[in-house]
């Protein structure tokens, strides 16, 4: 009997025929899809010199209009705070309704539908709709972020409630407690710590999103950024980008710090 002298790591698809077919399919897809896309290669070939030119004009970043930068950045942060607050409150009833083990079936289905509908559409799409409804400005941005946070938080809350320990609910129910009492004494203590953690995470996410909804006119630093790009004002764009990255970074540090405290 001869032992094999070479070894190769096990593959995801063990049958070589299927594996090669899969590789071939991926390559065929890339070729086909690149062919169907309408790409103006002439324009693309100018890309590298254009990029070089753009970066040359970006450096050094122009912080000259720091007052405008500061107010818009502050507006983004305020939008994030305001929306997170409303979202955290709104998500509690919706999350409760979307938990299969607590809510009756029709309410459960309705709540799940609301969550799916609001989660499916990207924040930017919500933002354009709100701009059409309430006009340009921070209000549209706040409403957008409220929708985004509520759907995210209520989904997380519903999952937590579904995964909680039913023993405590039964124990409290056995004392003859009414539903509000079960909610306060059996459900809340189990899900609250995690919900607070997720809320802080969402605040961090809202800060990130509040910097872009402005691109479609919904307030915050995004509108200044979009305007600077369309005016080829690249040194100001870089200043804005650096500020956004710094803000996002601070938000992440803050969120990690607070979540560390909760644990």
């Amino acid at each position: 009997m001869t032992a094999p002298t070479t070894w190769s790591p096990p593959r995801l698809i063990s049958n070589p025929a299927y594996r090669h077919a899969a590789t071939f399919a991926v390559i065929a897809y890339v070729v086909w899809s690149l062919g169907t896309l309408e790409i103006d290669w002439g324009r693309v070939s100018q890309g590298l010199p254009r990029a070089a030119n753009m970066f040359a004009r970006m450096v050094p970043p122009d912080f000259g209009r720091w007052e405008l930068l500061g107010t818009q950045l502050l507006e983004s942060v305020l939008m994030a705070f305001a929306a997170s607050f409303v979202g955290v409150i709104l998500a509690v009833p919706i999350g409760l309704c979307a938990a299969g083990n607590v809510a009756p079936k029709p309410i459960y289905l309705a709540a799940r539908l609301v969550i799916i509908l609001s989660r499916t559409f990207h924040e930017i799409i919500w933002a354009i709709f709100f701009v059409k409804i309430v006009g340009f400005g921070a209000l549209a941005g706040v409403l957008t972020l409220i929708i985004a946070s509520t759907s995210f938080l209520s989904k997380m809350l519903a999952e937590d409630i579904e995964n909680m320990n039913p023993g405590q609910v039964e124990a409290v129910r056995a004392t003859g407690a009414s539903f509000p009492k079960i909610l306060i004494y059996a459900i809340t203590p189990q899900v609250l710590p995690r919900y607070l953690g997720v809320s802080i995470y969402r605040l961090d996410a809202n800060i990130r999103h509040s910097t872009v909804v402005g691109v479609v006119g919904a307030g915050g630093i995004g509108q200044v950024l979009a305007a600077s790009f369309s005016r080829y004002d690249y040194d100001f764009s870089l200043a804005i980008l650096i500020s956004i990255i710094a803000l996002v970074f601070l938000g992440e540090i803050f969120s990690n710090w607070v979540r560390g405290k909760f644990r």
């Binding site: 896309l37 507006e75 607050f85 990207h122 706040v142 790009f229 990255i245």
Partner: protein, 270 residues
């Protein structure tokens, strides 16, 4: 023990928190409410607009019905482009994200400088939103799907790189040492010792990110980077709300299907 002492130690009514804990908790709540009130106050919001918001929203919905289904033909092409942008962007990410992940993982990086470079690329990529990346790439490559593909790739590098780097840091070091003991080169150690251990994570992350990218690529068109967003924007600007509803329904369908596909594939892999 007097009766009074006994009563304080074993109260009739059970309370979860001591009065002090309750007080600090309420102080926190008060602080949070204060921040929210100040935020709303400082924001430049015209509340009158909110008063007739429901009228405006209802008006939009009425105008969106019935959907103009004849528009669906144009939508399908554009929807296909959206999926292509997401898929090609995800594939393009792979080529940059994994080298960066190996640099950003402490146990596979060369030295602290390469580690810092890897981390910096991943953080910078994640801090900038896809839409902002799209603004940059539209300025470079001109409007069109290619800018969208690069924008998707640029944002995904940080996401996939970070998750992969974390997976690399958590691998079983024994396998790596065993390969090293055979006298394998550094590349061979990575290929045989490290890669097979993180492959399941990589496959899972790729599919997960692809699903997120489908959702992101639906809005790239708003800044000119291709996909269905272009149609959405132009229909909205022409007040063709019956076309907008067709677009919204199709976006909903694609996002829900991709989420389903991604969830099924991930369940089979892991």
């Amino acid at each position: 023990m007097t009766v009074a002492e006994h009563a304080t130690r074993h109260p009739e009514v059970w309370r979860r928190f001591s009065p002090r804990q309750t007080l600090t908790r309420y102080a926190w709540y008060l602080g949070i409410v204060a921040v929210a009130v100040i935020s709303f106050g400082k924001l430049d919001i015209t509340w009158e607009y909110l008063l007739d918001a429901h009228v405006q929203a209802a008006d939009l919905l009425v105008r969106m019905y019935p959907p103009d289904w004849s528009y669906a033909e144009i939508v399908v092409d554009s929807l296909l482009e959206t999926v292509h942008i997401a898929t090609l962007g995800t594939i393009a990410t792979l080529f940059v994200a994994f080298p960066c992940a190996f640099l950003a993982a402490r146990n596979t990086t060369f030295n602290s400088v390469t580690w810092a470079i890897g981390r910096f690329i991943l953080v910078a990529s994640r801090s900038v939103n896809t839409v902002v990346w799209a603004l940059i790439f539209v300025a470079i490559f001109g409007p069109g799907p290619l800018a969208g593909i690069w924008a998707i790739a640029a944002r995904s590098i940080g996401f996939m790189g970070k998750l992969t780097a974390e997976a690399i840091e958590e691998i079983d070091q024994g396998a790596v040492e065993a390969i090293e003991a055979t006298g394998a080169s550094r590349l061979q150690v990575l290929w045989i010792g490290v890669l097979p251990q993180v492959l399941p994570v990589i496959y899972g992350t790729v599919v997960y990110r692809w699903d997120i990218n489908i959702r992101e690529s639906t809005v790239l068109g708003l800044v000119g980077a291709g996909g269905i967003g272009i149609l959405l924007y132009s229909s909205m600007n022409q007040f063709r709300w019956d076309e907008v509803s067709v677009i919204m329904i199709s976006i909903f369908a694609v996002v829900v299907i991709s989420e389903f596909v991604s969830a099924t594939v991930r369940k089979r892999i892991t």
